[in-house]
């Protein structure tokens, strides 16, 4: 198979590694949340933990009296059956609790990517074609600052200007309405755009300096066609990795930005679950996020090998 379908063979191997990683990550998440000090039964009962009997009863109910391996396999087993467990804080199944949050986060992330990816392709290409031009200089100065600015600081500045001083947009975004999305999306785009523009630009600059672009130009290929057919197509491959990293970065960015704007998504749910020590919710969201992260990695790796034939022999 490896001979006839190198991409497929690579994909199969890459997926197998991904499954293995997911398993290791599940062990780590479980170990870090369940087995560290801070008994979950005490966390649930809070002040009432002084009652020995109630505490013991709850420990049995939660399965804390069993061995760590038993607890883990039990947890993984029910996870594989789609049972995410019962939230400690809300006394509801985690899945019902998170259903709408997942959708809200998808909307926020989707709108952000729909704006950021075309914009970074456009700006990166323009800056790369006219290397050293005014747009390139302006962008490289701005990106140096924007890359280093934490999302919550950008978000806070935007809130102060547009919500407090100008009063044109809401300071908190309690749902995925159009007006509510403007500031969170703007914050994420500002924070992520800089990196993407830089990477796209680097790809374009490299291709522009290549022999085949030089040859095409000497053969009299018009500039517009040259950029569309020669430069963009070849500069796109490294950009796939960049965009995959952006989606992964969004996982972290969303956690912070949702908290800044009180947006009801999985990021805010995760932070709340962490601060209330709602362990089943942390575990469920942790697995969801890690799975997504690994999935994007695998997809990007396979996509790059598919787009750039040269890599097939090197990594196949």
């Amino acid at each position: 198979m490896a001979e006839r379908h190198p991409v497929l063979a690579y994909a199969v191997r890459r997926v197998a590694i991904g499954v293995g990683l997911t398993f290791v990550v599940s062990v780590l998440i479980f170990a870090a949340t369940q087995l560290l000090p801070g008994n979950p039964a005490i966390a649930i009962l809070g002040r009432n933990a002084a009652h020995r009997r109630a505490l013991h009863q709850l420990e049995v109910q939660l399965g804390l009296d069993h061995s760590a391996v038993y607890q883990y396999s039990h947890w993984l087993g029910s996870l594989l059956q789609g049972n995410l467990g019962q939230s400690y804080a809300a006394h509801e199944p985690v899945s019902t609790l998170l259903a709408s949050d997942v959708g809200n986060t998808m909307i926020l992330a989707g709108v952000t990517l729909a704006i950021m990816i075309p914009l970074s392709l456009l700006l990166g290409t323009l800056a790369g074609i006219r290397r050293g031009g005014w747009l390139d200089t302006l962008l490289s100065g701005l990106t140096l600052g924007a890359i280093a600015l934490p999302e919550f600081v950008t978000g806070t500045f935007l809130v102060i200007v547009f919500a407090i001083w100008m009063g044109v947009l809401p300071a908190v975004s309690l749902g995925p309405g159009a007006a509510n999305l403007v500031l969170p999306v703007a914050t994420l785009v500002i924070a992520g755009l800089a990196y993407n523009v830089r990477m796209v630009r680097a790809g374009v600059v490299e291709v522009m300096a290549s022999d085949y672009v030089e040859a095409a130009r000497l053969n009299g290929v018009p500039e517009g066609r040259l950029i569309r057919r020669y430069v963009l197509r070849n500069a796109l491959a490294p950009s796939i990795q960049t965009f995959a990293m952006t989606v992964q970065w969004l996982v972290g960015g969303v956690v912070v930005v949702e908290t800044v704007f009180s947006y009801p998504g999985i990021g805010q749910a995760l932070v709340q679950a962490v601060s209330t020590e709602d362990i089943p919710t942390v575990q469920a969201l942790g697995m969801l996020i890690a799975l997504l992260y690994i999935l994007i990695n695998v997809a990007a790796d396979v996509a790059v090998v598919y787009v750039v034939p040269k890599l097939r022999t090197e990594s196949g």
Partner: protein, 285 residues
């Protein structure tokens, strides 16, 4: 012709200017960075008031006695800004140094000794890098709530793989050089070769990598404190202040703006300085 003119022009510049040759933005960034780090380190000793003392009506605006006004509980914002940087800078520094020790040893050994150690270390790195960093930090924050030690360890684990990868590549490259072979032929021990021959020669890579990595540590520490998972509330902390005082944005925006500006100046100037250092050394990482 142009080169000749340029060379002459350069020769007429004062010697000092020629040696440092900072651009205007680098000069500004370096001064700002020193200022903010100075406030972070020495501020707690210089703050005009006890940062935890309640001195007036919550969210009072700026006045002559309280230049930046008061916060959500009526504490002096200026004093809290002066006191609130040390924890962020300290934790980020400790974690970055620890990441260099752990990741550095792993990278050097992996790159020089090879044998079975190399693939084992590389697989461990793959596993750690498969984890979203923020998730790792949050999971540790669940297991060890508000523990500075826990966060330092978690941040070290998040940062060490990157250090190890970069130093491994540099070590691999350096170990093929003549001076390493010469040292091995003299009968020097592997540790001597690593520390006395290889490390001094890959110093440039370490310097180039350290600036951006320290920035990432600061960003991570600030984000965790903003999310309320770092220091516990009465503590003065820039990132925590931004979160705590959201309710007073109309009454006294300085309670949020001042710490936000401090963090922004710190991270941006750090990035500009690190970028300048790297461009000068011309190392691509």
């Amino acid at each position: 012709m142009t080169t000749l003119v340029l060379r002459e022009a350069r020769a007429t510049l004062p010697a000092r200017r020629r040696r440092t040759g900072l651009t205007v933005s680098e000069w500004v960034a370096t001064s700002l960075l020193c200022l903010v780090l100075g406030i972070a380190v020495f501020g707690p000793w210089l703050s005009p008031e006890n940062p935890d003392a309640l001195v007036g009506v919550p969210y009072s605006g700026p006045s002559r006695t309280h230049l930046l006004g008061l916060d959500e509980l009526g504490r002096d914002v200026l004093s809290r800004v002066m006191a609130g940087g040390r924890a962020v800078v300290l934790l980020a520094s400790v974690a970055t140094c620890a990441a260099y020790i752990v990741g550095g040893v792993a990278g050097l050994v992996s790159g020089y000794v090879r044998s079975w150690i190399d693939p084992v270390i590389m697989r461990v790195i793959d596993v750690v890098l498969a984890f979203p960093p923020i998730l790792f930090l949050l999971v540790v924050a669940t297991g060890a709530p508000h523990s500075q030690m826990g966060l330092a360890v978690a941040l070290t684990i998040v940062q060490a793989p990157g250090v190890a990868r970069i130093l491994r590549t540099a070590t691999l490259e350096a170990s093929t050089r003549g001076y390493v072979e010469a040292a091995a032929a003299r009968g020097e021990s592997p540790w001597y070769i690593l520390l006395r021959e290889i490390v001094p020669n890959i110093r440039g890579v370490i310097v180039a990598d350290a600036g951006p990595r320290f920035t990432v540590s600061i960003l991570a520490v600030a984000a965790l404190n903003f999310l309320g998972l770092g220091q516990r509330p009465p503590a003065a902390n820039w990132a925590l202040m931004i979160n705590e005082n959201q309710g007073g944005l109309t009454a006294n925006p300085w309670a949020v703006l001042a710490p936000a500006i401090m963090i922004a100046v710190l991270t941006i100037s750090l990035n500009v300085v690190a970028d300048g250092v790297n461009r000068r050394r011309d190392v691509a990482v």
